[in-house]
Point group: C2
Chain length 160, copies 2
DNA sequence: ATCATTTACTTGATGTATCAATTAAAGTGC
DNA sequence: GCACTTTAATTGATACATCAAGTAAATGAT
């Protein structure tokens, strides 16, 4: 028995290599990081009893102003795409956070608007959400944050 | 009327600014990018009739080898955390892709193992998944890919 | 003018996720 | 040995997501 023969392998590398390629490692890293960041940054929404998707719909409608937006345009702007936009807006309407009315010119479109109550709710969340985002990203210095943003923008440009 | 007074603002900036901070922009970018990349890279799973979470459980169990893993250890290693690990494994057991047996030493733990069928299924997915990841990340050059991975690792280190 | 197509949403069926509460076994203190 | 806590996993209630199919209005083609 010579000492050139490795006695035992560390237990962690029984999987020959965790990722076949760097692209795969990046994909997993992205999903993992997004899950953690989402958890960290959406924690403060629970206090107001709305989900992340509902919050994003409200933000989109606030951004759209008093003209509101057709239902499917909200879906297009959402962070996570969903075929369930109708029921998502249903929920917000039940909570009196948005209103809907069928268009007069084109009677197929349903225009959604945020209510006063919706604006108030969003107002109460603005500061906590910004604070939570800052916390979630505290591991990076400003320049690194910019680099991360730029890299992800580039990834998205080639998607679809 | 001097030309120093701006005549009108572009319509897009009726929302004073889209993000209050760069951290918030990064958080939204992360969620958006992850959603798109997930869609792109998990598309190939549909062919085998399993979800991304199910696929990840199978990969974890393949990595664990023949000893398998206790149910909750799978949950800890998952990309996206879930309280629904029991039912996730239920589904895989129904599909005959994993087996479960209660431990003899500690009768609380349930040890999960991947079956031959599970390994075969994973084997059929390995190449498509790597290919899809490469496609999803084709917007970045190798050095940029490494930088993205490193930045996200740093973000995760400060989470929780 | 009529019919086919597209667009904008809605609905039904089914599956998956999430939270809180529960069971059962193991460890801990005395 | 007996209560007390912790750990591992399961279950029930309810919400949310997803897919396929459907409705109704508008648009386009002949």
């Amino acid at each position: 028995m010579t000492d050139r023969a490795p006695a035992r392998l560390p237990a962690e590398i029984r999987q020959r290599r965790r990722f076949a390629t760097k692209a795969e490692e990046a994909v997993v890293g992205l999903l993992r990081t997004a899950d953690g960041v989402q958890r960290a940054s959406e924690g403060c929404l629970g206090a107001q009893g709305i989900s992340g998707q509902q919050y994003n719909v409200l933000r989109i409608l606030r951004g759209a102003g008093s003209e509101g937006l057709p239902t499917l345009e909200i879906a297009e702007r959402l962070i996570e795409r969903t075929p369930g936009i109708t029921r998502l807006v249903d929920t917000l309407e039940r909570k009196k956070l948005v209103t809907r009315e069928r268009g007069t010119k084109d009677r197929r479109v349903v225009r959604c608007r945020i209510t006063r109550a919706g604006l108030t709710l969003l107002g109460a969340l603005d500061a906590p959400v910004v604070r939570a985002a800052g916390q979630a990203m505290r591991g990076l210095r400003p320049a690194e944050l910019l680099r991360l943003i730029a890299l992800m923008d580039r990834v998205r440009q080639t998607l679809d």
